[in-house]
């Protein structure tokens, strides 16, 4: 994905909340999920790791 496309592709809610959760420091999977449960997004394990994969594959410069 080129930089222009990357910058203009909106974050999905799941990715946004994962990044928000990780902004406070390193966390393991269930800690991220728990933090999400306080927000509007209820995330399951499958969604969490699918989103983490997309972050690492598509959004790594």
């Amino acid at each position: 994905m080129d930089e222009h496309t990357l910058l203009n592709t909106p974050l999905s809610p799941a990715v946004f909340y994962i990044l928000l959760a990780l902004a406070g420091g390193e966390k393991h999977g269930y800690q991220i999920m728990k933090q999400e449960s306080h927000s509007r997004v209820k995330m399951g394990t499958g969604t969490l790791y699918g989103s983490l994969k997309r972050i690492s594959v598509e959004r790594t410069p």
């Binding site: 393991h28 269930y30 995330m43 969604t47 969490l48 790791y49 699918g50 994969k53």
Partner: protein
């Protein structure tokens, strides 16, 4: 709930989730399976500690998440595989096009020599043959056009044209060899073959036909290869010209 019941519920839930993990594509399972299982384990432990049991709501949420994420991962994996296949075809376009042309040659040769054998001389069809060759050269140019890529590289187009031409010609000649030898009684009825055989020094029609094929291999392969190079390069150059005249994108 006793500690033993707790442990049993935990183990059973993990087993069920481990089975559900098999629904994910292999690559995803390999990269994230152990992490997903660990996260699920942590979740189950906390739910059991706070609620005492894993209710229907818990399993409904797990099922919905699995269905949604399996669908997404499988779709992503399929799209990636399709992209890999398309990239392979793009990289080996000359080979793919040559095999397709060769397949078409097999059909045409079998139909015109065995299924609907002609009783007229080839000279009656000169115009048809000329149009056929023109069409083949146009196909070589198209192969060169497609294979030259962006930005267009003339060498890549010429190479793809040559590969396609050599492969298709080799398949066509091999088909002639098989058809002429297997259906000699039918092929031997062709006017041109009868006339050629009578004026040749060969004692059998089979020898005459096979000697002709050797000549064809020595003559046609280099000629068609050269045509593939030339028309492939023309196709690539055409693309280069079109790319040069296209307005630059902002």
């Amino acid at each position: 709930m006793t500690q033993h019941e707790h442990d049993t519920s935990q183990t059973r839930a993990e087993r069920i989730y481990a089975s559900l993990l098999r629904l994910y594509p292999l690559g995803h399972r390999r990269d994230y399976g152990p992490l997903m299982l660990q996260t699920f384990r942590d979740e189950v432990r906390e739910v059991l500690a706070t609620s005492g049991s894993l209710g229907i709501a818990f399993w409904l949420a797990v099922s919905a998440d699995v269905v949604r994420s399996v669908w997404r991962e499988r779709r992503t994996a399929s799209e990636r595989e399709l992209q890999v296949s398309l990239n392979w075809i793009g990289k080996h376009f000359g080979v793919v096009a040559g095999l397709l042309l060769g397949g078409l040659a097999i059909v045409v040769i079998v139909l015109s020599n065995v299924v609907f054998p002609s009783t007229e001389s080839d000279s009656e069809y000169t115009a048809v043959y000329l149009m056929g060759y023109a069409a083949i050269f146009l196909v070589f140019a198209t192969i060169g056009f497609v294979a030259s890529g962006t930005p267009s590289r003339i060498g890549a187009g010429a190479r793809a044209g040559a590969v396609a031409a050599l492969l298709a010609t080799a398949i066509g000649l091999a088909t002639f060899f098989v058809v002429d030898n297997l259906f000699l009684a039918t092929v031997g009825q062709q006017v041109d073959k009868i006339q050629g055989f009578h004026t040749s020094p060969f004692r059998t029609m089979r020898d005459y036909v096979n000697f002709g094929l050797v000549y064809a291999v020595l003559g046609m392969l280099p000629l068609m290869g050269a045509a593939g190079v030339a028309f492939g390069a023309v196709g690539a150059a055409t693309r280069k010209l079109l790319q040069g005249s296209a307005p630059a994108s902002r």
